[in-house]
Every structure is written in structure tokens, then in C-alpha cells.
């Protein structure tokens, strides 16, 4: 049983008046807002009820475009002329001596620098550099904020993916999306607050969107890009016509049962959850109705592209816009359509051509669409992999994982656009100017949402657990908000 003294007592006082569960939950959420309960403890009867942030937010919603496998940002958005000049040469001695905390990267690489065959150019007013792998994203140069100086704490997929998604290299902690929905609830009670779209998830599996020790209400829910939007949204076909009458019987008997159990909150909560589930069926089905979108929209996202992987990713991007539009708090996409992702240990160039071709146009379309609908101001879009890749060649024209320095970008949601922050060294190996931890990135995202990273905590096993760990052990990435 949940024990939340405050809301429970309030509930009890009101339940003496004999409200039905659903009405009551709605009433309580409403009441909470009126009373201005800042980051109030969530209501177990209505866990996704919208909660106020600690301070006025810059962004309300998040779309996280997770780039699985470790994209080589050196080939995409971290322009390194020295690397191009030094193509084929050994790594400068000065860069070999660094005592890196995370081991192993050099051991698997040749002592040979490798630049990709890309053409680089400056884009927009801001003059940010892009390789010709991302012609569509490049048009949004003036919307993006690039952070070139990220580093990770493992050069290994699963721990680094866990770190980027949950703030810890061990799995099992709540994910960013879970923390955000725990902190803020959602804007639409008829849809899950935290939705995932993937064809293939990240290494380490569903622990990347786990609610960890947070209540299950904050678990990521998978939506599909094809077919019915979510599993079990509808019953097996032959039950479609008896759905409402069966539910009515359940609710009728449940209410009798709840009447016989005064003061047992969960029983009312469960009655409400069945109504919500029923409403969700139609609302979520509606989300999947991409036919409601114009032909131009379909085209811009690449939905009709002959590259079926691109078309699939395009559908995910379009769905994420529709979800945000309907008030879903946190949407996360995984780029991979197979188990390879950006993980180009061999023939890195092929990997990057393939992945860029799949994702570039849909992502650009998403940015444009959000902007055009006025959603970009309140939606923070984050593009990040678990780490970058080495400037040294590995094996046959491949690149190894590189946790020492890589680039991510953000757009919208109060982020100052058209700028780049921090830098890697001249060959793009290590973050040297303003190195930023993943923790700082998380703190920045929470801050954008008006959440104080130190005040967003949950008690577990006797510990005040936070996404960003020990209090004041983080800082927001300087300059992101201008």
C-alpha cells in the first residue's frame, strides 16, 4: 500500500463525502495546482497529474533523440582541420601521454589518424560547421546549440548508455525520462507521460528506460511506429464489442468492494486506472493516425522514402511531434533500425553514411515542424549518443569508442541557439575546453525544465537518490541558456 500521509489524509477527509475515484483524483490534482504545491509529492491515485516545477521552466517537454552505438561526431559536427591535414600520420606525442581515467581506447587503435572523406562547410548566420553527411540538419544551424566537450565515464556501450540515460554506469537507476515525469507529471492524463520509440533499443536493454526505484507510473512506455501504437492497447479482436460492458461489470463490482473498504486508497486508484486505460485506447490510437497529416508533412519526414529505414525513423519523428503536441512530457527515440547503430569498428564511413541517411532528414523535419507549430520554444530537443569515436583508425577503416571527447546538440526549450560550447583538442580526441560530464548535461536538462537537480530526489534504501548524485556535484553547462 502506498503511504503518503499528506495526500492520504486529505483523501480520507474527502472520501467521507463519498466521491467516486475518478472525480476525486481529478479534483485532487486541480486542488494541488490551486494551492501552488511546488514539486509536490506525487499523488499515488493520479501519479501523472501535472506538478509545478521548482522555478519557472524554460522548457516543458523533451524529445531525446538517442544515437545508439556511439556516433563519430568528428565525422558529423566537430570540424577538425588538423585531423584532415594529419590524415595517416601518428597521434601527436603530446596527446599520447595523458593519464585517462577510462582505459583501453588506444589499445585497439592504430597509431594512425583518419579523417573522413567529407566536405565541411559553415552554415547559417551562426556559421556552425557541418559535414556533408547532415545536409538537412545543417539548415537548422541557427537553431542548434552544440556542446563539443562532452566526456563519458566508460568506453563500453552498456555502462556508457546507462550513464547517458540514467546517470549511472550500473544499470537499474531511474532514467532521465522517469525522473522528469516523476518531477513534473505529464500534461495529458490520457497518455503515458514517458514514451519510447524504437525499432532496436540501446545495449543494456530496457534498463535504459527503467523507472528504477521510482514508482512504475514513471516507466517508459513503448509506442510503435507501425500498427497499433502500443501493446495491449486493444483487446484481442473478438473482444472488441464486449469491451465496455465487461468493463462496466468490473467497475460496478469494484465500487461495491471499495465501499466495503473505507480508507483503502489503492482501490479507488485502481478503479480510476481502468477508466484511464479505456480512454487511453482511443487517445493513443488517434496518435497513430498519421493519415491525419498532410502529404507535405509525410514527404518532409521522409515517410515515403524508398529507404525503408529512413521512412521508419521518419514515422518515429512524426509520432514524437504528435505526442508532444498532445502533452506527453518526455519522448525518447532510438535511432537504430538494426543492432549496429553508429558502432563502426570497421568501415566507419559506411556506418556513418547509412545512419546519417536514415536520420538526417527526419530530424530536420521534426525541428522545422516543431518550430512552425510554435512547439520548439517549449520543447527541448536533445541529440546525443553514449560516446563518440576515435580520430585514430581501428582495424579496417574503423573507429573505436571514444569517451574522452564528443559532441551533443540541443535545440529549443530556452536553449540559446546558433552557438557552440567547449572544444576537443586539435584532433578531436579529448574534451579540453570546458569539459562537460554527462551529469552536467542532465543537470542542464532538469534546469531547463525548472527542476532543481538537488531537490529532485527519491528515498530508496535509506538514501536520498538523485539523477545527478551528491548535492551540488554538478553545474549546468555554462552558456547553454545564453
Amino acid at each position: 500500500m502506498q503511504t503518503f500521509p499528506q495526500s492520504r489524509r486529505q483523501f480520507f477527509e474527502r472520501s467521507a463525502g463519498g466521491f467516486a475515484g475518478v472525480a476525486l483524483a481529478a479534483l485532487m490534482a486541480e486542488q494541488g495546482r490551486k494551492e501552488g504545491l511546488h514539486a509536490s509529492p506525487f499523488d499515488p491515485l493520479n501519479p501523472l497529474a501535472e506538478r509545478l516545477s521548482h522555478v519557472a521552466p524554460r522548457a516543458k517537454q523533451v524529445i531525446f533523440l538517442f544515437q545508439y552505438g556511439g556516433p563519430s561526431t568528428l565525422d558529423l559536427i566537430d570540424y577538425k582541420p588538423v585531423l584532415i591535414q594529419q590524415q595517416g600520420k601518428p597521434v601527436p606525442e603530446s596527446l599520447k601521454q595523458n593519464p585517462d581515467k577510462v582505459g583501453g581506447v588506444f589499445n585497439h587503435c592504430k597509431d594512425e589518424l583518419m579523417a573522413g572523406p567529407w566536405k565541411w562547410s559553415q552554415q547559417g548566420e551562426s556559421g556552425l560547421w557541418f559535414s556533408d553527411l547532415l545536409p538537412h540538419t545543417a539548415r537548422h544551424a541557427d537553431d542548434l546549440c552544440l556542446v563539443h566537450s562532452m566526456y563519458s565515464e566508460s568506453s563500453n556501450h552498456a555502462p556508457a548508455t546507462y550513464l547517458m540515460n540514467t546517470g549511472a554506469i550500473l544499470g537499474g537507476k531511474p532514467s532521465l525520462g522517469s525522473w522528469v515525469t516523476y518531477g513534473l507529471g505529464s500534461l495529458n492524463q490520457n497518455l503515458p507521460g514517458y514514451v519510447l520509440l524504437y525499432k532496436v533499443g540501446g545495449l543494456g536493454g530496457s534498463a535504459n528506460w527503467s523507472n528504477g526505484f521510482l514508482p512504475a507510473a514513471f516507466q517508459g512506455t513503448q509506442f510503435r511506429a507501425e500498427g497499433a501504437p502500443a501493446l495491449n492497447l486493444a483487446p484481442p479482436a473478438e473482444l472488441a464489442n464486449v469491451q465496455r460492458s465487461t468493463l462496466d461489470l468490473i467497475q460496478r463490482l469494484n465500487r461495491r468492494h471499495a465501499d466495503q473498504h473505507p480508507g483503502v486508497l489503492d482501490l479507488d486508484g485502481r478503479i480510476a486506472s481502468y477508466e484511464l486505460a479505456y480512454r487511453m485506447q482511443s487517445k493513443a490510437l488517434d496518435i497513430g493516425e498519421l493519415s491525419q497529416e498532410t502529404k507535405e508533412t509525410h514527404e518532409s519526414y521522409g515517410l515515403n522514402d524508398e529507404n525503408s529505414s529512413k521512412a521508419l525513423f521518419g514515422r518515429m519523428c512524426l509520432l514524437s511531434r504528435r505526442l508532444v503536441e498532445k502533452g506527453v512530457r518526455f519522448v525518447q527515440l532510438y535511432n537504430a533500425v538494426d543492432k549496429l547503430g553508429w558502432d563502426g569498428h570497421e568501415q566507419s564511413t559506411d556506418y556513418h553514411r547509412r545512419n546519417a541517411a536514415q536520420t538526417d532528414q527526419p530530424i530536420a523535419a521534426l525541428l522545422a515542424d516543431l518550430k512552425q507549430r510554435g512547439l520548439l520554444d517549449s520543447t527541448l530537443v536533445l541529440w546525443a549518443g553514449e560516446f563518440g569515436r576515435t580520430p585514430m583508425m581501428q582495424g579496417n577503416l574503423g573507429r573505436n569508442h571514444n569517451p574522452y571527447g564528443f559532441t551533443i546538440w540541443m535545440a529549443g526549450g530556452g536553449v540559446k541557439p546558433g552557438q557552440s560550447i567547449g572544444a576537443t583538442d586539435e584532433i578531436g580526441l579529448r574534451a579540453v575546453d570546458q569539459p562537460q560530464s554527462v551529469k552536467n548535461l542532465h543537470a542542464t536538462i532538469l534546469t531547463a525544465l525548472g527542476l532543481n537537480p538537488d531537490e529532485l530526489f527519491f528515498e530508496s534504501n535509506g538514501r536520498q537518490e538523485r539523477l545527478t548524485g551528491v548535492a551540488q556535484s554538478w553545474q549546468t553547462i555554462p552558456g547553454v541558456f545564453g
Binding site: 512504475a216 460492458s245 468490473i250 485502481r270
Partner: protein, 771 residues
């Protein structure tokens, strides 16, 4: 006020108690005498020792934090008529249900609360059967108990349930949560651990056998150090299997590829220390890994002293668990075969397989050899651990918990607040350090203030929904205080006196009037008497039911819910323990973990990264036996608050969310169970139709009514009341018409509408929430 709070006068509670008696400041001497006479914080440690400015705990916290309640040894006071001073003096205080009630009622009456009356027998058997076995009682069991005219009917029921194998299966689940059991390694590859199920079965067996808890914990921490040479008895075999405990954490098999061994070892060692401290001691050692503890009298070095007990742990996947006698048999069997095969090999060596004339004989001999070799037997092995040798690698304190910044070397030791020096360790044998045995003995010691309290609290929590200490893994300052400290202490002491017997602990708790109270609903036999209604006054004064004026309504956890569906529908298959089974999971969900896809293409090099689905019916076993894959929890269970397996879980969450409703109402898995139940009840009807004809109503009338009754009896352990009968009938009629209208035959429509009723009943709150 400063004057009244000199450091010498700690602990605070003592001060509060003494001050009113000492109105004049001139009584300093008297105060000091009183404090010196105060009992020891922990046997062996004088308060004066802790107030020594040289003592590390004193240095860190200046004498603060020593009044942590759980640091004081459990204390039992005499209760007239129940606990005598002699019993306390002789250490012969025993578990008893009456004493539980005395302690509970004492606090209830002090708070002006009235205990709820005993619940009726139908609810009682349903409650206690779920609590002990995780399964529903059968309608026949309910009837037998309700009608049992003999004395001690309930006590006998408890005895029967405790003796059933299902008891071990149910309670193993609780312990497996605490020790974060899973069948796979976790991380990128998340490989299957083909032998770890033996640990799961060891836990089941230990509970079934009522193994004393002190022994149970010794085996898990140091089973290998308790056994000399090959195991001579099944108990010694179990002792070795128990070391699987040391392997249960997640394991990143790719760490070495990227030279991240240091990070990985740091995680492993920290995880072992933290899990052991949480599981057995309720200490949050994870909180003092980077700095001294924020609340409790634990130093950063205490975390590393505790780690050092595990420094020599070496993973073993080949721990031989065959009995010594059998090992001899196997060895001589293999030696005999070897004798047979040796001359054949010798002859083969003389042949030249390239010479045509040698070829037939070569072929013949090769076949002979491989046949003989195939007869070789290998002894059974388990996944466990031993020490790597007599010497353990050094353990260092890490500056701010950072493994890349090792500082001074640290020797194994218990929390400094209990014993500041290094632990005294003697190795039982030459090839092991004896460190874990020393730790196990300290934890299993009667003098340890935490062990017994922590475990009795876990059992209490399962029977009441909340522990006497609500934070079962945290007995520190940031955890909850006990609601009934005297009861907790008495339970701990009496339980140890009763030989750490878990079954006796159950008996005492379950037979108490406190456990047997109504949860809420007014028991049937008391309905007329208005005075026995659950008083609104109670609800107002103690809405949380912290003082236990009633039993709590408890929601079934994920596994029990699924097991309930299986049992009620009749699909449940017995499973004789062993390898875990892999249920169906939709392909798109398998895609969550690319490691699984790699295995599908055969790209995992035989590492078993995949999902190895078993036939549907084969997986109709208790959920305990389904595979627990770290990177892909079974969706049906996950949505009902299945805990993560990375860290110890002390208590299941019970959240209420719409995806649960979608799962139980819409998922093909759930609908299937409704179908099976409907089919079963239809066939029962046909069997019953051959019985004596009843006197009233038409056959059709009786038939639908008896079916609804069967559904209720099977799923809810009770008969429907007239209103329920009528609404169920409405549903059946309406759905029957609907299905006929859709073109189904009348018979088919009958089955389908009954299935819909079963589906509804399996979604009722009453199906998931136990009174």
C-alpha cells in the same frame, strides 16, 4: 542551553530521561555516574571508549550519532503474566502469539484505539494461504476450513501450509528480492547464467527445511569456508551452492575488453559490501562510499573495511557439488574408462591414416575412442565462489569513492562504532583467507544488534504489508523508527532463543489475534452488532494503521498475481525446480536489447545472450521459475512493479497505473487464462449434470447460476451475493445475445460469454487485493 549539552552527556535520550530528575546543576556527579552505568552501546564497546577523542568515530562525529536506536542491543523487559524476570535472566524468552498481542494492544489502548475483531474464516484462509504459499486456497480447502469443528483448526491450517512445498517457493521469492537474484549477467551481452538457478533452489530448500537463519546466512557468505574438502553430505553440498550469493550482482563481461577492470572490480566489491550490509544488517554502507555517512555513525573507511572481507572472492563456475562418495565413484569410473581407452589410443597412434590399408582400422578405433570418451562422467558443478588463495589482494580506501584515486590500505573490519580495530581472522584452511567466515560469524552472533531485528522485521513486513520498521533495508537515522520498539526487540530475542527458526516466527505472528484481525470489512459474524464495526474513530486517529488496529489489505505482487491467474484457471503446472523457463515475449520487445538480436543471428559466439522461448504450456509454472533476464524483465510482471535486480529490494512497490489495467484486461496472456477457466467450468458442468437433479428451477437456470458460483468460488474463495448474481447474469445474457448475433452457435456463445465473465472477475480489485 549549551551547558546542558556537553559532549560527555551523550546520548541524547539518556539526557532527556535524566534531566527532569536533576533539577539542580549541582548534581553533575550524579549525572555522570548514571551515564557511566548506562548499558554498553554494543557489547565490547564502552561508551567511554567511543568518547575517547582518539576514537575514529568520535573524531569524525564528536560524540554525536551514538544514540542510534538499532545500535543498542535488543532489550526485553518483564511483562507480568507473559514474560518473567527469570526468563529474561535465563535467556529463555520464547516466541508466543499472546505476547505479540500484548505489545500491540498496549499501544492501541494508549492511543485510544480499538482493535478490529477477528476476520471470518473464509477471509482468514485466503489471507494466510496467499501469505504463506503465494497461491489461492482451493474452494475445497476453504470449505473444509470453514466447516472444521475441531479445536485449533486455524493453527493446524498454518502448520499444513508451512509444511507445503509451496511455502518454500513463496518465501524464496522474498529472499531473492533482497539478494537481487537474476539469471543473467546484465550489461551489454547480458549472458544467461546456466547454473545460478541452483542458488534459487537452495533458497527454496532451505526455507522448506526451516534451516536456522544463522546457518542460512553463514552458508551464503562463507559456505566454502565451512566445508573441508569435497562435500560429504547434502548439507555440505548446499553450503557450497549457497556461495552463489557472492555471484548474484550484475557482471560486465566486456569490461576487460576495454581495460576497465579497475572500474569493474570497484563496482563488484562495492556491490558485495553494500548488498551484504543491506540484506543482513539494515546498514546503508552505500552511503559512505565517497565520504563519511551523512546521518549514521559510519565512516567512509567503514565501507572499505567491510569491502575487504570480500577482497579475495574469486568467481567459480566449476564449483564441484557432487558428494565426496560420488566423486570417488566418478573418478574410478573415469579411470576405468581411461584404462580401456589407453591401449586403443596406443594402437591408433601406430596407424597411418593416409595409408589406404590402415584406414578401416583407423576409423574403427576412432569410433571406439569417442564412444569410450563419451561415457566419461563429469561431476555436477555450480556457480559459486571461493577465495583466490590464502592472501587477499590489498583493499584501499578510494578518495571520494573514486577508484582511480586509491589511498591508504585498509584491513577487514566491522563498523568502527562497534569495533574500531581490525577484525580477528583465522583461516580455516591453507587455501582460503577466512575473512568471509569471520564476517559471517559476526553477523550471525547473538550480540549483533542488527541481524535478528532486521530479519524478523522482514517477515513482519510480508505478513502486515509494512514492517515494524518501515524501511526494512535501513535501520539508520534516515530510516524509519520502529513503531513498536519493545515488540521488535522481544521478537528478535525470542526468535534467536527459538533457534532462529523462521517457521516458528511465522507461527507466532500468524496465530496472533493481531494478524487475524479483520482488514476492514465488517466480518460476517459480527455484522449485526453495530458496536463491532471498524470504528471511524480509528480511521481518523490512525489512518495509516501504524498501530495495527486492523489487518492491512495487501495487493498481490507481480508473481503472485500471475500465479493466481494460473492456479485459478487450472493451468498451473507443477515444476520440479531446475532450469528457468523462458515465456513468450513479443519480438518487438526483444528488440529492446540489441544483444538478443546478436544472438539470433548466431553472432554471440555461444554466450547465450538470447531469449530461448519455451513452448507456451511448459511455461505455465510458478513465476519464480521463469527466467529473470536483467536487460529484459518479463513485461507482464514488470508492469506490476517487478523490482530491478541491480540492488537489494527490501519492499515491493504497489503502484496503480493504467498500463496494468491494459495488461490484465487486454493482453492475450490474461485473456487466455479467462478462456481456460471458462472451458474448465463448462466441462465441470457437464460432469455435474450426471449428478442428482435439484428440486427447483429449470436446468438452464441452475446451470448459469452454478457457473457464476463456480467462478466466484474459484477466483475469490466465496459465493456471489444476490446482487452480484444478478449483474453477472445480465452480462452473460447480453454477451450471449451479442455472440449469437455475430453468428456464433448457442453453445459457442455460452462459452464465450462465460469467458467474458471470468475475464471480468480476474480483473476485480478483490482478485488482486487480499483482505
Amino acid at each position: 542551553m549549551k551547558l546542558f549539552r556537553p559532549r560527555l552527556l551523550r546520548p541524547r535520550d539518556c539526557l532527556v530521561f535524566v534531566l527532569p530528575l536533576v533539577p539542580v546543576l549541582g548534581c553533575w556527579a550524579c549525572l555522570i555516574t548514571l551515564i557511566a552505568a548506562d548499558e554498553l552501546a554494543v557489547p565490547g564497546v564502552l561508551r567511554s571508549e567511543l568518547s575517547d577523542p582518539e576514537h575514529p568515530v568520535h573524531q569524525a562525529f564528536q560524540g554525536e550519532r551514538l544514540d542510534l536506536w538499532s545500535l543498542k542491543p535488543p532489550r526485553v523487559d518483564a511483562v507480568p503474566g507473559f514474560i518473567s524476570a527469570e526468563q529474561i535472566a535465563e535467556n529463555s524468552v520464547r516466541l508466543s502469539s499472546e505476547v505479540i498481542d500484548v505489545f500491540i494492544r498496549r499501544q492501541l489502548s494508549a492511543a485510544g484505539l480499538k482493535p478490529a475483531p477477528e476476520t471470518d474464516r473464509r477471509r482468514l484462509i485466503r489471507r494466510v494461504t496467499f501469505d504463506l504459499t503465494g497461491l489461492p486456497p482451493t474452494p475445497k480447502e476453504v470449505q473444509t476450513f470453514v466447516e472444521d469443528p475441531l479445536p485449533r483448526a486455524y493453527e493446524r491450517l498454518v502448520e499444513r501450509l508451512l509444511a507445503s512445498p509451496a511455502y518454500g517457493e513463496r518465501w524464496a521469492r522474498h529472499w531473492l528480492d533482497v539478494v537481487r537474484y537474476a539469471d543473467t549477467e546484465g550489461f551489454e551481452r547480458d549472458e544467461f547464467r546456466p547454473q545460478i538457478w541452483q542458488f534459487r533452489d537452495y533458497v527454496i530448500r532451505s526455507l522448506q527445511q526451516d534451516k536456522p537463519f544463522d546457518q542460512f546466512l553463514r552458508e551464503q557468505l562463507a559456505g566454502d569456508e565451512l566445508v573441508e574438502g569435497p562435500p560429504a553430505t547434502p548439507a555440505e553440498v548446499d553450503s557450497l551452492i549457497a556461495t552463489g550469493f557472492l555471484r548474484l550482482g550484475s557482471w560486465d563481461s566486456t569490461a576487460a575488453i576495454f581495460q576497465e577492470e579497475a572500474r569493474h572490480r570497484d563496482q563488484q566489491q562495492g556491490d558485495l559490501a553494500n548488498t551484504t550490509a543491506s540484506a543482513f544488517l539494515g546498514l546503508t554502507l552505500a552511503c559512505c562510499q565517497c565520504h563519511d555517512h551523512k546521518y549514521d555513525p559510519l565512516l567512509q573507511v567503514d565501507h572499505f573495511r567491510f569491502r575487504a572481507f570480500f577482497a579475495a572472492v574469486a568467481p567459480r563456475n566449476d564449483l564441484v557439488i557432487e558428494l565426496a562418495a560420488e566423486q570417488t565413484v566418478i573418478a574410478s569410473h573415469n579411470a576405468e574408462l581411461e584404462q580401456l581407452v589407453a591401449p586403443v589410443r596406443a594402437e591408433l597412434a601406430k596407424l597411418d591414416k593416409d595409408k589406404p590399408e590402415d584406414q578401416p582400422r583407423f576409423q574403427e578405433l576412432s569410433t571406439q575412442i569417442s564412444e569410450l570418451e563419451r561415457q566419461q562422467r563429469s561431476p555436477r558443478t555450480a556457480m559459486g565462489a571461493t577465495d583466490s588463495g590464502a592472501e587477499a589482494p590489498a583493499t584501499h580506501l578510494f578518495y571520494q569513492g573514486d577508484y582511480s584515486e586509491p589511498r591508504q590500505e585498509v584491513a577487514p573490519g566491522f563498523p568502527s562504532v562497534v569495533e574500531a580495530g581490525a577484525a580477528r581472522i583465522t583461516a580455516p584452511r591453507a587455501e582460503t583467507t577466512g575473512r568471509r567466515r569471520a564476517l559471517a560469524e559476526w553477523i550471525a552472533s547473538r550480540q549483533n544488534p542488527w541481524t535478528a531485528r532486521v530479519f524478523v522485521n522482514r517477515v513482519w513486513q510480508q505478513h502486515f504489508g509494512t514492517g515494524l520498521v518501515a524501511s526494512a533495508n535501513d535501520f539508520g537515522f534516515s530510516g524509519s523508527r520502529p513503531t513498536h520498539p519493545e515488540l521488535l526487540d522481544w521478537l528478535a530475542v525470542a526468535w534467536m532463543n527459538d533457534g532462529w527458526s523462521i517457521k516458528r516466527l511465522h507461527q507466532a505472528i500468524l496465530c496472533s489475534a493481531t494478524y487475524r484481525q479483520a482488514s476492514n470489512e465488517i466480518p460476517e459474524h459480527n455484522r449485526s452488532a453495530d458496536s463491532t464495526r471498524v470504528p471511524d474513530e480509528n480511521l481518523r486517529r490512525d489512518p495509516e494503521n501504524r498501530l495495527l488496529w486492523r489487518q492491512n489489505v495487501k495487493r498481490l505482487d507481480a508473481e503472485t498475481l500471475r500465479d493466481n491467474l494460473l492456479a485459478v484457471s487450472g493451468a498451473l503446472r507443477p515444476y520440479d525446480a531446475g532450469k528457468p523457463l523462458w515465456p513468450f515475449v513479443p519480438l518487438e520487445l526483444l528488440h529492446a536489447q540489441p544483444g538478443i538480436l546478436e544472438a539470433k543471428d548466431g553472432g554471440d559466439g555461444g554466450r547465450m545472450q538470447g531469449w530461448y522461448e519455451d513452448p507456451l504450456e511448459a511455461t505455465d509454472v510458478r513465476s519464480l521459475y521463469l527466467v529473470r533476464k536483467r536487460s529484459l524483465p518479463i513485461p507482464f510482471l514488470q508492469v506490476f512493479d517487478l523490482p530491478d535486480t541491480t540492488v537489494s529490494c527490501s519492499r515491493r512497490e504497489t503502484t496503480v497505473v493504467a498500463p496494468q489495467a491494459l495488461m490484465l484486461f487486454n493482453s492475450p496472456e490474461a485473456v487466455r487464462f479467462a478462456q481456460i477457466l471458462a472451458t474448465r467450468i463448462m466441462s465441470e458442468k457437464e460432469a455435474a449434470a450426471t449428478g442428482p437433479v435439484e428440486e427447483t428451477g429449470s436446468a438452464a437456470e441452475r446451470s448459469w447460476e452454478s457457473r457464476v458460483e463456480r467462478v466466484f468460488q474459484t477466483a475469490l474463495s466465496r459465493l456471489p451475493d444476490p446482487e452480484e448474481l444478478s449483474v453477472c447474469r445480465e452480462l452473460l445474457t447480453q454477451h450471449h445475445e451479442q455472440y449469437c448475433h455475430e453468428g456464433h452457435t448457442a453453445d459457442e456463445a455460452e462459452r464465450l460469454s462465460l469467458r467474458d465473465l471470468c475475464r471480468a472477475v480476474m480483473n476485480l480489485n478483490e482478485f488482486l487485493y487480499i483482505d
